[in-house]
């Protein structure tokens, strides 16, 4: 993206001035290098989102942004139902409530490295991953409804998780307002045998060492100590969320084209929040959020069993669970007035600052943990939400490194076997059924995650707390 097209606000904030059909400006948080490397499509998609009915304040774009579907990946937009605001299936995305969670093991990395091969093999055999894999649970219809209503709470009640986890999950592990009756039979069928599966693509389970502590007091409160090991899971609502997204996108496009909503791009499929379709989508989407929360809880259970096999005394508490593809009802201060808004975050993480009432007591003085996945073989970060993010970005921050190169290009450049061998030589074990999948996910196909989190920190969205280094990565 050419910076000349933008108005520079400061070192890490840029503005797309309203023009054409735009109702609000676009605001991109990134340094000049990240802006220059950013796809022009991000500009185009930001302009389109800023043109949607009922959008409030600005369309915000995170430093890891790249070309998405209708919304840029890394896009944040809030809509006011009182002013004709919309809800967008494209704005939430295909993988509803895709997110990241991190479990603290309190184990020394030297102890884990002594058993690295065996732990990697055990995780590979216990975590269903990749195309064709099945979960260890098949849900009957009544159980499906209960799961879609109950989220991680349901998983805990079924014995696939720990009660203490719940306060460390957004929405306390269960999103209100889920309507399983608005989820199609096809979506439920697609999920029936997929609970507790990792999926494929950029999803992973990673065993990581805390390499560097950047903010000691917050790291201590988060349970992060240098040299100790954590387990991070990146996954979403699996087939159920994908099916809901596909079905509602079509329905919203067809409805929009026969109504007054002008879609600059069909991928921006949306409907008025107060419309019948809008309400049905919200009910189904919230059920998909619960599915994702339950899924990550079950995956954690499988990972905990592996760790307890090797380390029977390990406690393994959950640090936090964040979702980065969502639409949530939140109250924000806009033009001096507190307004109830539908905040879409597509590839962006909620980042509540210190003191926020939604945070559990132990975390409240420090801000919400913001978990930033890197790419296989490169570092990840734990950040903490900043109070200023409330006014700067509706309390949002980045979600990962963000791709810098297409899968197509990555496949032409790298060989999966070579990547696995090179990473093994650096002490990182990769377990994946597909050498080609590894090539498509090559670490260098992603942006520099450090540059991304530095930009988020300088922009006052979130502070760096700890840097993590991968030891084992399970890919689908």
């Amino acid at each position: 993206m050419d910076p000349e097209r933008l108005t520079r606000i400061d070192q890490v904030a840029w503005r797309i001035e309203p023009h054409g059909a735009m109702r609000v400006p676009g605001v991109i948080f990134a340094d000049e290098h990240l802006i220059r490397a950013m796809d022009d499509k991000v500009f185009e998609q930001t302009v389109n989102v800023a043109s949607l009915p009922g959008i409030v304040q600005a369309c915000y774009v995170m430093p890891d942004a790249h070309w998405g579907y209708g919304f840029p990946i890394g896009g944040v937009a809030a809509f006011d139902p009182e002013r004709g605001g919309v809800v967008s299936a494209g704005g939430v995305g295909f993988d509803v409530s895709c997110g990241v969670r991190t479990i603290v093991t309190r184990l020394d990395s030297k102890d884990v490295m002594r058993r690295q091969e065996r732990i990697a093999d055990s995780l590979e055999s216990q975590i269903p991953a990749g195309v064709g894999s099945k979960g260890k649970i098949a849900l009957e219809p009544g159980e499906m409804e209960a799961m879609l209503q109950g989220g991680a709470l349901w998983a805990v009640e079924q014995g696939f998780g720990e009660p203490a986890d719940l306060e460390r999950i957004e929405e306390n592990g269960r999103m209100e307002g889920a309507r399983p009756d608005f989820v199609s039979d096809r979506a439920k069928e697609r999920q029936r045998e997929e609970m507790g599966t990792l999926g494929s693509g950029n999803h992973y389970l990673e065993v990581q060492a805390v390499e560097e502590i950047l903010e000691p007091a917050t790291a201590a409160a988060f349970g992060l100590r240098r040299g100790e090991v954590v387990v991070t899971i990146h996954c979403g609502s699996r087939g159920l969320g994908h099916q809901i997204a596909a079905e509602f996108a079509k329905e919203m496009v067809v409805a929009a084209e026969s109504s007054a909503i002008q879609l600059p791009d069909r991928e921006l499929a949306c409907a008025p929040i107060d419309s019948e379709i809008g309400q049905r989508y919200l009910g189904a989407m919230r059920a998909a959020v619960n599915c994702a929360l339950a899924n990550r809880e079950i995956l954690s259970h499988h990972a905990r069993r592996v760790f307890r096999h090797y380390f029977p005394d390990a406690r393994l508490p959950l640090l936090y669970d964040v979702s980065h593809n969502t639409c949530k009802v939140e109250t924000h201060l806009v033009d001096g007035e507190r307004r109830r808004l539908f905040v879409h975050r597509k590839g962006a993480t909620r980042a509540l600052g210190p003191g926020h009432e939604s945070l559990p007591e132990a975390l409240r003085p420090f801000g919400q943990p913001v978990l930033i996945g890197g790419s296989m073989g490169t570092e990840s970060y734990v950040l903490a939400g900043e109070a200023g993010a409330e006014t700067r970005s509706f309390a949002s921050a980045c979600h990962g490194a963000g791709r810098a190169m297409s899968r197509h290009a990555a496949l032409r450049r790298w060989n999966g076997r070579q990547i696995v061998d090179d990473l093994a030589a650096r002490g990182v074990l990769i377990r994946s059924p597909s050498s080609r999948g590894v090539a498509e996910e090559a670490p260098e196909a992603y942006k520099d995650v450090t540059a991304v989190v530095m930009a988020a920190e300088k922009a006052g969205l979130a502070r760096r707390v700890a840097r993590l280094r991968p030891l084992i990565c399970i890919k689908g």
């Binding site: 195309v131 894999s133 087939g239 994908h242 079509k250 297409s406």
Partner: protein
Amino acid sequence: MTPAPRPPSAAARWEHFPHGADIGLRGFGATPEEAFEQAAYALTAAVTSTDVAPKIAVEISCEAPDAELLLVEWLNGIIYEMAVRRMLFGAFSVRIVGDRLEGTLSGEAVDAARHAPASEPKGATYTALKVARDDAGVWSAACVVDV
């Protein structure tokens, strides 16, 4: 019984094209049906580089108000069958009448060791979505698939 696929025309081929995070598919053919079939081959090729044997046939049908939405429905129909049956498909046959498509997919159960699936398609999208006929009369059917 797997239906015998019609012989491909000289125009029949498929390609992948780059997208930031995912993968673009484009099928070409002498008719819209053939272009849709070729796009389906491109979908399978996004998952595996290995041949898929057409052992089991699955019938699907879908409808949409225009050809582009119909392409998305067709690819999403295949993705659905791949997911619930845990199969990959290696042969496709499409019939389009008005706004309705009937298709036959032929394939086999996923064999993780042999197929080594590289990615799991989540859904076909409206990004770079285009069904068109060029000046030489060749049809193309394209969109990006989220993986």
